[in-house]
């Protein structure tokens, strides 16, 4: 079985290791900042996010309230900082669950093929037919609003996306000669799948997870905006876009605008990161 290795990529296309990749650096910095913001919210927020002051509603930026206040007189900066917690936790849970389940199913499908693969792939096809939002609304209708129901529903509807991509790559890996060599060494299936195939699909997995994170965040924010997710007065960006909308007509768009901006910044950062990781992988020499 002679397989001739073609010279893979012209050297000019390969990303240089020495030059800093600014997109990668800036997007990961933004994401790191957002995570720090969420984790250390109590230390960073200047005010109690739920402290309402009816005498200071809809204020513009000032020394006391750097980003102004909302229609209840709550400090917007504090609410945005605290809002990062649930706004990031939700999509993170969705992606972690969908990635774990999707990858496990994908590798098992690719490895065993046969009826397991057929059943898993058909179930994935059926799930593709349901828009995630509809699925989440259904879950909320059954289990009541909050963070949990939409997160579980969206985890289920994101799983096939991750599974489909990973399965294709795992299937390709499974038929590469090094896997046959593993067989001959007498390695257990478990070892081959986890230490060899999983490791080779990891880069792809990261890209897909990063890209899906953005979508999951938008979906969850939409659910919150519709009032089906996290309930006010809990600070959460999707909720804030929704509660701020009445003030827009009165000429105070800051709450909706700032919360929307946070969502946009986060989604763009994750998408650019995923995109960047994907292009970098294409430049990497693969055997």
């Amino acid at each position: 079985m002679a397989r001739v290795e073609a010279p893979l990529v012209a050297p000019t296309e390969a990303p240089s290791r020495r030059r800093l990749d600014w997109v990668l650096v800036s997007t990961s910095s933004v994401i790191a900042l957002l995570v720090i913001m969420a984790v250390f919210a109590p230390l960073l927020a200047p005010d109690d996010p739920n402290y309402a002051n009816i005498l200071a509603t809809n204020q513009g930026p000032s020394a006391a309230h750097l980003l102004g206040t909302d229609s209840f007189g709550r400090d917007l900066l504090s609410r945005l900082i605290y809002g990062a917690r649930l706004s990031l936790l939700g999509p993170a849970l969705i992606i972690v669950i969908a990635t774990l389940v999707g990858t496990a199913l994908a590798i098992l499908s690719a490895w065993y093929g046969g009826w397991f693969d057929r059943v898993a792939s058909r179930v994935a096809d059926i799930l593709f037919a349901f828009p995630g939002l509809i699925f989440a609304m259904l879950a909320v209708a059954m289990f009541g609003p909050g963070l949990l129901a939409p997160v579980v529903a969206l985890s289920i509807s994101y799983t096939p996306y991750l599974m489909r991509v990973v399965r294709a790559e795992a299937l390709r890996q499974r038929n590469l000669p090094y896997v046959a060599a593993c067989y001959v060494e007498g390695l257990r299936v478990r070892t081959i799948c986890t230490r060899h195939i999983l490791r080779n699909v990891m880069p792809l997995l990261l890209v897909q997870a990063a890209l899906s994170f953005g979508y999951a965040l938008v979906d969850l924010a939409a659910i919150s905006y519709l009032g089906l997710g996290v309930q006010p007065p809990t600070p959460e960006w999707g909720v804030m876009v929704s509660t701020g909308q009445s003030a827009i007509l009165a000429g105070h768009p800051q709450e909706s605008l700032l919360a929307g901006l946070m969502i946009v910044v986060t989604v763009v950062a994750f998408n650019l990161l995923g995109d960047r990781l994907a292009t970098r992988q294409k430049g990497v020499v693969r055997a």
Binding site: M1, A2, E5, P177, Y178, A181, E185, G186, L187, V285
Partner: protein, 333 residues
């Protein structure tokens, strides 16, 4: 007692849903410590034999006959027995080391993996393997240990593969064209090392190659495969002195002559047939200058002839004549 007995092995592979014969009848015993070279043209089924021995045939392949390792049928082995066979008794060296070593794991991970998998501690496995790396001529084993396959040259990587094969202390080595992907000088270095380590450990080896010279250099016996049929099996010493099969004679004739390289290379007329294309007679008959009517209608059995075995109806009467074909220089002089 043979360490490996390949007994009337026939293999069918599914091609677009239909089973197609790739090996007709291969009977080949290998004694402990003996090196057998399995030679043949591309598509003759050489690799299929080695893959069948280690049960690495594609899904849906139908295997007939039997393969016995130390008396136990490899084909009948259950999962635990097969795993034991692969982890303790047999090791395989592949043609293209770059494709057969996981590119994203270090050389060290690759080397100790088989030992760790069968229950050895990582530290002791590392010691074993480091010593082995030095013995196959890899300098600075500690550094190589931490490197990735793409950082090593093809020759170095093939030595790593040899070290990995020796690490499990097998009794049988399957080498599937181990040097074909290497350039000629590296090829000879690697072969010398493989041959030396094999001899000092007394390993039996099935050496699959299309290079008759190379096989003759390192093997005790040469088995010639044509269109999925074993047509000759001869001790290496007799290969050139006493030719018995016209095909082997033709192969020997089509080598370039290192002494007077200006003669035109002889070629066997026609093209090599695939195993599924052959008729009822001798597979080589359509290209054989000595074929008679019987050759086309009746398939010759592989039968004992002096020191070896041969599958040719006219082996006895041709014995004297074939030598002149194989050495055309002598014929024309």
């Amino acid at each position: 007692m043979s360490v490996l007995e390949i007994d009337h092995l026939a293999v069918d592979l599914p091609v677009e849903g239909v089973l197609r014969r790739v090996l007709h009848d291969v009977t080949l015993p290998i004694a402990p410590g003996e090196a057998v070279g399995l030679v043949g043209e591309s598509g003759a089924g050489k690799s299929m034999v080695s893959r069948a021995v280690i049960r690495l045939l594609p899904e849906g392949a139908a295997v007939h006959g039997d393969i016995r390792y130390a008396g136990d049928s490899v084909l009948a082995m259950g999962r635990p027995a097969l795993r034991h066979f692969r982890t303790h008794d047999v090791a395989m060296i592949f043609q293209d080391p770059r494709a057969h070593i996981n590119p994203v794991r270090t050389v060290g991970d690759f080397l100790v993996e088989a030992l760790v998998e069968r229950g050895e501690r990582r530290e002791s496995a590392t010691t074993t393997v480091t010593a082995l790396l030095a013995s196959v001529g890899v300098s600075d084993p500690e550094r190589r240990f931490r490197q990735f396959p793409h950082e090593l040259s093809g020759g170095l990587l093939q030595r790593v593969m040899i070290a990995a094969a020796l690490a499990v202390s097998p009794t049988l080595l399957l080498a599937d064209e181990p040097t074909t992907a290497l350039d000629v000088t590296t090829q000879s270095d690697v072969m010398v090392i493989l041959d030396a380590r094999r001899r000092e450990r007394g390993l039996a080896m099935l050496f699959v190659t299309h290079d008759l010279e190379l096989a003759a250099a390192v093997c005790d016996r040469i088995a010639v495969l044509y269109a999925g049929l074993l047509i000759e099996d001869v001790p290496t010493g007799d290969l050139r002195r006493d030719l018995r099969h016209p095909y082997t004679a033709g192969l020997l004739a089509s080598r370039p002559d290192p002494v007077s390289p200006r003669r035109r290379l002889a070629a066997i007329p026609g093209r090599p047939l695939s195993a599924f294309e052959i008729g009822p007679g001798c597979p080589f008959a359509p290209r054989c200058p000595f074929a008679v009517a019987r050759c086309l209608s009746e398939r010759p059995e592989l039968r004992d002839l002096d020191t070896g075995r041969v599958a040719c109806h006219r082996a006895e009467e041709l014995r004297g004549q074939l030598l002149s074909i194989a050495t055309p220089g002598a014929a024309s002089a």
